[in-house]
């Protein structure tokens, strides 16, 4: 019950099957990493979980703490506790970071709940300080004119503010310089805990030195073809994916 369970998920985009019977179990309290070649379906998995309309689930199930996720709308999934850090965060002109996160928090409140603006800003600033984001960013439009690294930090800021149960981070490390990588990794580590499951999609073992995963999965052609502990990431980094594909072809 306390896990995000993906069971035999098959997903297609514009008639083309991208994920093929993919299964994955992410229990609360754990961090799993997903690696895989370009185009293997990592982002597709993230977006299908979030409920993007372009991604059609033709079979399989996703249970979040026992609840059938696929029955819910995008926003309902989010409010139920699913968060996705986008590989390519979207610009929302004219909407400040502060208003954006406030709107997201308010969407989670009941009608009668009051919103404590002072407490909100206190928390927001604390999280921004932790992630090394200049406080001036509260007034900037969401992702507009942000550098690649700034966008990624802001994704993690949102995650920290929204306190989701399950997080899917899609290449949050790409575009980060070495120092930023450490800061963002520390931000993610800060959120690790008994009540949260985190799925980290990445191409680089480097990130996993900082966010040490409990499990590593390799996805090829829309399927998880190999799982292991953190040493698998090191092996992938050294040897690439060909040996795994060869193992597959040999039917190992």
């Amino acid at each position: 019950m306390r896990s995000l369970e993906v069971e035999n998920l098959t997903v297609s985009v514009e008639g083309k099957t991208i994920l093929n019977n993919l299964s994955l179990n992410l229990p609360k309290g754990e961090v799993h990493a997903i690696m895989g070649p370009n185009g293997s379906g990592k982002s597709t998995l993230a977006k299908a979980l979030a409920g993007h309309e372009h991604y059609t689930v033709s079979s399989g199930a996703v249970l979040m703490d026992g609840e059938n996720l696929l029955d819910l709308e995008v926003d309902q999934r989010a409010r139920a506790g699913l968060f996705m850090a986008f590989q390519y965060p979207v610009e929302i002109p004219g909407v400040s970071i502060a208003n954006f996160i406030r709107a997201a928090l308010k969407a989670r409140q009941g009608e009668e709940d009051s919103f404590d603006a002072l407490a909100y800003y206190r928390r927001l600033y604390a999280e921004m300080d932790r992630l090394g984001i200049d406080r001036k960013f509260t007034g900037r439009s969401v992702n507009e004119g942000f550098s690649g690294g700034e966008k990624k930090r802001c994704e993690i800021l949102q995650m920290a503010m929204l306190e989701p149960k399950y997080c899917v981070l899609d290449e949050t490390d790409s575009g980060l310089d070495i120092d930023a990588l450490k800061i963002v990794a520390a931000g993610v580590n800060h959120m690790r805990g008994e009540d949260r499951g985190i799925l980290v999609i990445t191409h680089y073992q480097r990130l996993l030195n900082h966010i040490v995963p409990d499990y590593v999965h390799v996805i090829v052609d829309g399927r998880i073809v190999k799982s292991g502990d953190k040493s698998l990431a090191v092996e992938v980094e050294e040897r690439g994916y060909d040996w795994i594909k060869e193992e597959m072809a040999a039917g190992v």
Partner: protein
């Protein structure tokens, strides 16, 4: 979902009506008898009666402007409206004296509350006449006049007549002629030289009756160096039949004066809203129109400034939201008539569903002038694939001693933006509202706080209602 109830109540905020008995009713249709009836009831001077009757002739003689405007104008049946309805002419000075049904109407709209919170004066018009009119006493001591037009015409004819129908001649267009024939209500404001009215004066125009036409006439004069902010709000219940609202608003800013005129309109979707608004700005005077048009079936409104004196400044900040089936045909006019005059137009429109927004501008700078500047920006946001926007900027600048800048853009709220916002937990309606509020944000920031809050609320309601 969570907010739906609150929104239903709020969406309907203006949509209620009381069965009211009227003391005075000019009947249905438009003719000399109706015009005379209005003049009789108001016990007007002969010159006003003659003015009205002449205007009626002009109205009859003018064709509808369908050669450039929408054919929907042909669906206005002038013989089906009621042109004058009132419970009497004397506006009350306290809310307690206002008849119960009328008082309740304005209480539901929150007017007495706003008056207490931040206004220097309020006029509340119910159908044809002001039911309530009051201004803070210290303003009266300074010589500020703020009354309904009916009262203004009676008690201050010397000022009224001098400026009346001078900025907008009767024959300016078919609807200014119509208003001139049957006008009733609206505000008359005079601010003496050097007096700066700190808090806004507000008028609220409420249509309560069915098949009714409201024709308020507002005249605001800021004498030399005076300053005033005026705000108008309007609502009507949603009837099966059409309602007509056709106002004329004239502003005169004398030397060095500043007038800011703010409209936050929220008409129901059966209202034809055809309004002529224009200002004259003398030397170093400044006029700013802030015009927010939400609702109505068709709005045609192009606030303008005639920049008559050297270094006069004119500005129009306009936001139009065309919901499904609505047409917002709005814009601005800047007529430069003196050297070193500057004007600025920023117009933002949002079209939702089959909503249509049209920007019409007119900027005129004749050859003989020097050092004039205009900046025009119009941005359109389309929410759905079948939403529509058109832009007719019409900028005529002669000679090379003047400068203009013109920018226009059309953008869409993308599916990826909505997905991003919804992934953060917002409903589709909330996501739309946030994106739309973002689009108008840089403009709204220039509005006084109270009105930007009100506008945001109206946009939220409109957008929440637009998604299924």
């Amino acid at each position: 979902m969570k907010n739906e109830n609150a929104i239903d109540i709020d969406r309907e905020k203006g949509n209620f009506h009381y069965d009211t008995t009227y003391e005075f009713d000019a009947g249905i249709g438009l003719n000399e008898r109706v015009v005379n009836y209005i003049a009789d009831v108001k016990e007007e001077d002969d010159w006003v009666r003659a003015f009205r009757l002449k205007a009626l002739d002009i109205f009859k003689g003018k064709p509808l402007p369908t050669h450039w405007a929408t054919k929907d104008l042909e669906n206005i049946h002038f013989d089906k409206f009621r042109y004058y309805l009132s419970k009497g002419q004397q506006p009350s000075r306290t809310w307690d004296e206002v008849p119960d049904d009328v008082k309740e109407t304005f209480e539901r709209l929150g007017i007495p509350e706003q008056e207490r919170a931040f206004l220097a004066g309020v006029e509340a018009q119910f159908d044809s006449e002001a039911a309530y009119s009051r201004m803070k006493e210290d303003l009266a001591k300074d010589g500020v006049i703020f009354v309904g037009s009916t009262e203004g015409l009676k008690r201050h004819p010397e000022i009224f007549r001098k400026f009346f129908a001078k900025v907008i001649p009767v024959a300016d267009n078919k609807f200014s002629a119509l208003n001139s024939a049957v006008f009733s209500g609206g505000s008359f404001i005079y601010v003496p030289p050097g007096v700066k009215v700190k808090q806004p004066l507000q008028a609220y125009f409420r249509i309560n009756a069915e098949s009714f036409g409201q024709f308020e006439r507002t005249l605001i004069i800021a004498d030399e160096g005076a300053e005033v902010t005026y705000m108008e709000g309007c609502t009507a219940p949603k009837f099966e039949t059409t309602t007509l609202h056709s106002a004329v608003v004239e502003l005169v800013a004398l030397k060095g004066a500043k007038i800011q005129y703010i409209t936050v309109q929220n008409w129901s979707s059966n209202v034809f809203n055809l309004v002529t608004k224009r200002a004259r700005a003398e030397e170093e005077a400044e006029v700013k129109w802030i015009d927010c048009n939400i609702g109505s079936r068709l709005t045609m409104k192009y606030p303008g400034v005639i920049l008559k004196g050297r270094r006069a400044r004119g500005e129009v900040l306009s936001i139009a939201l065309a919901g499904d089936g609505q047409h917002q045909d709005t814009g601005a006019k800047m007529i430069h008539a003196a050297d070193e005059t500057t004007s600025n137009i920023i117009a933002k429109s949002i079209s939702v569903g089959e909503g249509r927004s049209t920007y019409r501008g007119q900027v005129h700078i004749p050859r003989r002038l020097r050092g004039c500047r205009n900046n025009t920006e119009c941005d359109a946001l389309l929410i759905n694939a079948n939403s529509r926007t058109d832009t007719y900027p019409a900028i005529t600048v002669r000679g090379n001693h003047n400068s203009v800048q013109h920018e226009a853009s059309v953008s869409k709220v993308s599916a990826e933006q909505i997905f991003y916002l919804m992934q953060r937990g917002m409903s589709e309606g909330e996501a739309m509202s946030l994106a739309v509020n973002g689009f108008v944000n840089d403009l709204v920031k220039q509005f006084p706080m109270e009105y930007s809050v009100e506008l945001k609320r109206l946009i939220d309601l409109e957008m929440e209602g637009s998604v299924g």
